[in-house]
């Protein structure tokens, strides 16, 4: 099995699939870094003063005043207290919150990439994994070896999981190294708010607490990895079903992009939440961002992604081991 997985990885690398993905990352990350830099500069200009410590101090005073008010509900107060803790940490450690370091960039980049950018990259890797063997005709050589068909397919799937993991690692490394040139490499211990729970239409904040940023990044990468695997598994199935690389890539791109668009266009259409590509933004639950479609929560999204993936992998294996090779 190790030999078979090695074969698949060799083909993926020699086909320069991997190089393409790394090149895309190497071109896009500097652009995003620059965009972030411009945003920071604009904010500084708007505030009118470059003395961020004075601003931060003023914000802390404002927040503390809010705490004394009796009209504010208790859960809000907890939230405010945490914000004050966060701001005090910035002040004490001499961190400018509007000019964050590379780890903050990595976190934000992953939070944004998980919905569209990462899925697209995964599709590039996965879409031609099986279909290219059909398109080249090499499937005929591959399936006339003394190796069971399910093993051939499993080796491809394992190679896909490995390469997705590697791509995420490279994404993390590249975004850290490149953005650090501008923002500096500090900030791993920055406190970040986490622990939001989505219940019905409400955001429950009583479990919210501060965690160090490095921990948050690990969580975010774990969730992003899960959602990338789901995309990878479904593209893998499409790659088995469609014997043409271009079609397979087209189908997957259309599905991923419409998932992203539909969330924006039709948030009131409730049954949409059962569609797999609506559930890709797992990191949003971590960040406590408002969820557009009601009834969605982290366990719900994890379950939807898992169910779709399992069904896809079953279909892929059944079809691949039974189908006549006619082309």
């Amino acid at each position: 099995m190790v030999k078979l997985v090695y074969n698949e990885l060799l083909k993926m690398f020699r086909k320069k699939r991997f190089l393409v993905v790394v090149l895309i990352l190497a071109v896009l990350i500097p652009i995003f870094t620059y965009a972030q830099y411009v945003t920071v500069q604009t904010t500084i200009k708007q505030i009118g003063t470059s003395d961020w410590k004075a601003i931060l101090q003023q914000q802390i005073v404002d927040n503390e005043n809010q705490l004394t008010s009796s009209r504010i509900p208790e859960e809000w107060k907890k939230w405010t207290r945490l914000t004050i803790d966060q701001q005090k940490y910035y002040l004490k450690n001499n961190i400018n919150p509007t000019a964050p370091g590379a780890p903050t960039f990595v976190r934000k980049f992953m939070e944004e990439a998980v919905a569209l950018f990462l899925p697209l990259i995964v599709v590039i890797l996965a879409a031609d994994l099986v279909s290219s063997e059909y398109a080249n005709g090499t499937i005929k050589v591959l399936l006339t070896r003394p190796v069971a068909r399910w093993k051939v397919l499993l080796s491809k799937y394992l190679a896909l999981i490995l390469s997705i993991s590697l791509v995420m690692l490279i994404t993390g490394l590249l975004s850290y190294l490149i953005s650090g040139i501008i923002f500096g490499y500090k900030g791993w211990n920055l406190p970040v708010l986490s622990g939001f729970i989505q219940q019905g239409n409400q955001l429950i904040t009583n479990q919210v607490h501060l965690i160090p940023q490095w921990k948050y990044i690990i969580y975010a990468f774990g969730l992003a990895w899960f959602s990338a695997l789901a995309v990878g598994t479904i593209s893998f199935m499409v790659s088995v079903l469609v014997r043409n690389t271009a079609t397979s890539m087209g189908v997957m791109l259309a599905a991923v992009i419409s998932g992203s668009l539909l969330t924006q266009l039709a948030p009131t259409w409730q049954s949409l939440r059962y569609f797999v590509f609506i559930n890709l933004r797992l990191t949003d639950y971590l960040a406590g961002k408002p969820i557009l479609i009601s009834g969605m929560s982290l366990p719900f999204s994890l379950a939807i992604l898992a169910i779709w993936s399992i069904v896809a992998i079953i279909i892929a294996f059944v079809v691949f081991s039974r189908r006549d090779v006619l082309n």
Partner: protein
């Protein structure tokens, strides 16, 4: 002698159409077996069933004593094949391609890879990527790939397709050498009769999914040959021919020549008889009867190719 490959009542239906209809044949150890039929007769479908790419609707395939449907791995270990074109990974080198497929078979070491490379004479170019290879080289690399696992049976689907005449001659010599020196049985499909006749000992003729006949090539071609006579005057000559018992199928071709079926060794004798009857003979052209004639006879004039 136990056959290397035995096919019994093999049938394949796709979407209600019968592509391969109840065919049976056997291939013996060390023999070159031809599988002859026009395009669309069901040759490729049959070959795909032989190597497990397509599941038969009914019938059985036994390779080296193992049933392909029930014991796929044991059966397919005995087989090396090229189905249609020699398809390999163009972005890998020749050696990487061989290593790739060697990893899918047990106990293939680098020595074996070197050995097959030498056998197909690709030593010089083996470390270049396959996309730079000519079709003939790809064909040879395909054969090297098929030979990696020391197969007892080599299955080649239209191996000369797209090769130039020199390449075809080279391949033919190579196939003969394989059968003689390595005592591998070789199963070759082709729509070119001449090819099969030159290479094969036995042949199965397939048309519209059915095997019309399986026999030794020598037996099929037989002793009679076609002989074309250029004569004058024709009517007397035809009369003379019809009186000879060993001459069949007398047929007039144009003003001055006649085609007959007869044994080659009787040509001289016949010539003397004609001269004795004052018939002028200006040319005698014996033609070897080919599988083509037999094919046309059997299918009732259906063209080939």
């Amino acid at each position: 002698m136990k056959p290397v490959l035995s096919v019994e009542h093999l049938t394949k239906k796709i979407g209600g159409r019968t592509i391969v209809d109840d065919i049976s044949f056997t291939v013996n150890p060390g023999e070159i077996f031809g599988f002859l039929g026009p395009n669309g007769a069901g040759k490729t479908t049959t070959i795909r069933m032989l190597v497990g790419l397509i599941k038969p609707t009914s019938g059985s395939i036994v390779i080296g004593g193992h049933n392909l449907q029930t014991h796929f791995l044991e059966a397919i270990k005995q087989v090396g094949c090229i189905v249609e074109n020699p398809e390999l990974y163009p972005y890998l080198t020749g050696r990487e391609n061989l290593e790739h497929f060697a990893r899918m078979i047990d106990n293939i070491d680098d020595d074996r890879i070197d050995e097959v490379v030498r056998l197909v004479e690709l030593e010089k170019r083996i470390d270049e990527t396959v996309k730079t290879y000519s079709l003939g080289m790809r064909q040879r690399l395909g054969i090297a790939q098929a030979l990696l696992g020391n197969p007892q049976l080599l299955i080649l689907d239209e191996p000369t397709n797209g090769l130039d005449p020199a390449g075809i001659r080279e391949l033919r010599a190579f196939i003969r050498r394989l059968a003689q020196e390595q005592s591998i049985s070789i199963f070759i499909s082709s729509h070119i009769l001449y090819e099969i006749q030159l290479l094969c000992e036995r042949v199965a003729i397939i048309s519209h999914g059915k095997v019309l006949k399986t026999a030794a090539v020598s037996q099929l071609v037989g002793d009679d040959s076609k002989v074309e006579w250029s004569l004058n005057p024709i009517p007397q000559a035809i009369k003379q021919f019809s009186e000879l018992p060993y001459i069949r199928n007398v047929e007039q071709l144009g003003k001055e020549s006649v085609m007959v079926h007869m044994p080659v060794e009787k040509i001289a004798e016949t010539n003397q008889l004609l001269l004795a009857s004052n018939i002028q003979v200006s040319a005698i052209r014996p033609m070897n009867q080919t599988l083509e004639d037999i094919f046309l006879e059997m299918t009732g004039g259906e063209g080939i190719g």
